[in-house]
Amino acid sequence: MKTYLPPEYIVKRDVKLCNKCKVCIQQCTYGVHYYDEKEDCMLSRDENCVNCQRCVFFCPKHAIIIRKNLVSYRKNHHWTSEVITAVKKQAETGRAILTGMGCDKPNLTYWDKLLLNASQVTNPSIDPLREPIEIRTYLGKKSKQVELALTGEVVLKTELTPQLCLEIPVMFAAISYGAVNLNVQEALARAAVECGTYFNCGEGGLHPNLYRYGDHLIVQVASGRFGVHPEYLNIGAAIEIKIGQGAKPGIGGHLPGEKVGKEIAEMRMIPVGTDALSPAPHHDIYSIEDLKQLVYALKEATGYAKPVAVKIAAVHNTAAIASGIARSGADIIVIDGVLGATGAAPKVIRDNVGIPIEFALASVDERLRNEGIRNEVSIVASGSIRSSADVVKAIALGADAVYIGTAALVAMGCTVCQRCYTGKCPWGIATTDPEISKRLNPEEASRRLINLLNAWGIEIKEMLGGMGINSIESLRGNREQLRGIGLSESELRILNIKPAGR
């Protein structure tokens, strides 16, 4: 069948600058660039280009530019070229369209419609350079009340429940071995240790090299139960049950068999070359009391020494679900918004299922407070956090901490080309190919991550100081510090904030 699909991108090479050094051939993992010996010139197969920008950055002569191929279909707001391309692609293949990273549709980012407050006159702002501002956060169930024995010396009777101690309320979201390579996980792990926070190894099991970072590790238990064994459960600081993820709520996942090489097979405990399937549901959880059962099974298996988190995708009735989770014995609820990213998801799901994290978060926090059980769980917001401002806004809406995934990958070089599922990520991230993986040096990548978190830490303190707050817990759920801009009445009501100017 002749393809009616035009190349998405056009590779422009300035032949005057190009000295045919062939660096681009080396760097491109999609086989775009090639050298034509007869003509002695560099040429490109534009249709293969995914616009990852790798060759652009590495061309020593800056001779390459990648352009979007603006196919001049007749202008149409409904039948955009993206839509036309998708239809044609499916007509040619008969398959569902796969994509990577998070939803790229406009109008779903509400962070930018929230504005923060600062003190003027009635309340002094604080200069974080001079005065202490605390951003340490503890995640885990808090008791409803502290009980003390008061005969003579004050003695604590309440037992402290296990907590995660975060020196900055930002953690690295679940990214599994298989979706990325060991270098990436290693970089995340080192940065988590250095910054006093946590990384999450995702559902693909844990490579033995990472065991030494156990104190800063959250292990995940997903429906596929890959790599889950007693040692795995005990090595981390916390366990996360993954029910769903923002990029693909309600559906499972699979790591294609060609990616399941010896090491991955070993870690996931599956035969080499088979698809690694994560069923859509956990087959021991068909109802909320079953969730409770799994939460307690994990606690039993680890002697009640670690907090158990439950991660869900933000969907229409998230508040009710969260309320159920809070009562299930879980210590932490992770809510992943519609913009949350993934290594691979059907595009139609990624772009159409779920709701923005801002709304889910606001309604969950409100609901748990109304029910008087907000103290029972910590809330972690995930999916779409790009900056320290997003972090601060999330906490003001009611989160205890956030997860970042895409932001961490971008820090390491990712250009959000959305082709993670190909396994050929030219930046050495979303690939397990041993050669390409070498492009990511864990030492350097962790430096980038540490710098990012340090910078965010400074900015968070600046913003807190501006509000006259010297400890992050005074920001949590403090929606008085937020105002909305360009939001409808009902959006404001759900976020429970006022419009700017009022």
């Binding site: 692609k89 405990m269 307690y296 298996a301």
Partner: protein, 258 residues
């Protein structure tokens, strides 16, 4: 083995028996019983006989090592979840999730089991004397070791769903009944299911094959172990015909996406 400490003696629930310690689980909450079990294991007891078990969950959760449990009563869900080595003999029926995500060891149930027996197990063996519920052996997997699930009776629907590795042997020993299991091996992409007797309703992704010599060897070995445990006559069982169910492909999702 350490001698029972003062605290243990205080507990009237405990009784030293031959080569084991007896625990009267009557009216104990799940977490109390499991905490006690962990404690006894830590103290070095290798044999634990649990009496009067009524629905306590997670018995043996995550335990490793050479320990033998004898469970009398009706244990609750997730018996032996994440278990990594112990042998567990249950003299009674078990609830759902028996052997959930089990890594190694043995579970033998002298009775029937509920749903999702051996969910995601990747090592060890489970023998159920009688029937099992729905989705037995769902998502069993295996890398170096092959987890094994042997069922003496009949199974509910979706046996071997998503199976990625390991062996399920379904014996159907009650000659008066036929297999009514539907959707056998739905989404299966690894491992093998052997069925004694006639089955019809296969799930998507599974196909039927005749057994070969190698299969027969495996079956014989498992039947022998089954009979040793539950006192059946193995030669009679072997005589019947067996079918083998295997995945159509190891890559069921290989052609779904572009």
């Amino acid at each position: 083995m350490e001698t029972p400490t003062e605290t243990l003696k205080e507990l009237s629930r405990l009784k030293i028996e031959e080569g084991a310690i007896g625990v009267n689980a009557l009216e104990m909450r799940s977490y109390e019983l499991n905490a006690l079990i962990r404690d006894l294991v830590k103290k070095g007891f290798k044999g634990l006989n649990l009496y009067n078990v009524y629905g306590q969950r997670y018995i043996g959760a995550g335990l490793s090592g050479d320990i033998t449990f004898k469970v009398y009563g009706t244990p609750g869900n997730d018996l032996g979840i994440f278990m990594n080595g112990p042998n567990m003999y249950v003299y009674g029926n078990v609830g759902d999730g028996c052997g959930n995500t089990m890594n190694d060891g043995l579970i033998a149930v002298y009775g029937h089991a509920g749903d999702i027996v051996g969910y995601s197990m990747r090592g060890g063996k489970i023998f159920i004397r009688d029937d099992v519920g729905y989705r037995a052996g769902i998502h069993m997997k295996g890398y170096r070791t092959a987890p094994t699930l042997v069922i003496g009776g009949c199974a509910g629907d979706f046996i071997g769903e998503y199976m990625a590795g390991g062996i399920i042997l379904l014996l159907g020993l009650d000659e008066s009944r036929r297999h009514e299991t539907r959707f056998i091996g739905t989404g299966m992409h690894g491992g093998v299911i052997y069925v004694r007797g006639k089955i019809t309703h296969l799930g998507k992704g599974a196909k039927m094959m005749d057994i070969d010599e190698n299969d027969l060897r495996v079956i014989c070995e498992l039947v022998k172990q089954f009979c040793d445990l539950f006192n059946f006559n193995s030669s009679k069982i072997i005589k019947q015909e067996f079918t083998k169910i295997v995945p159509v492909s190891h890559r069921p999702y290989g052609r779904l996406y572009t």
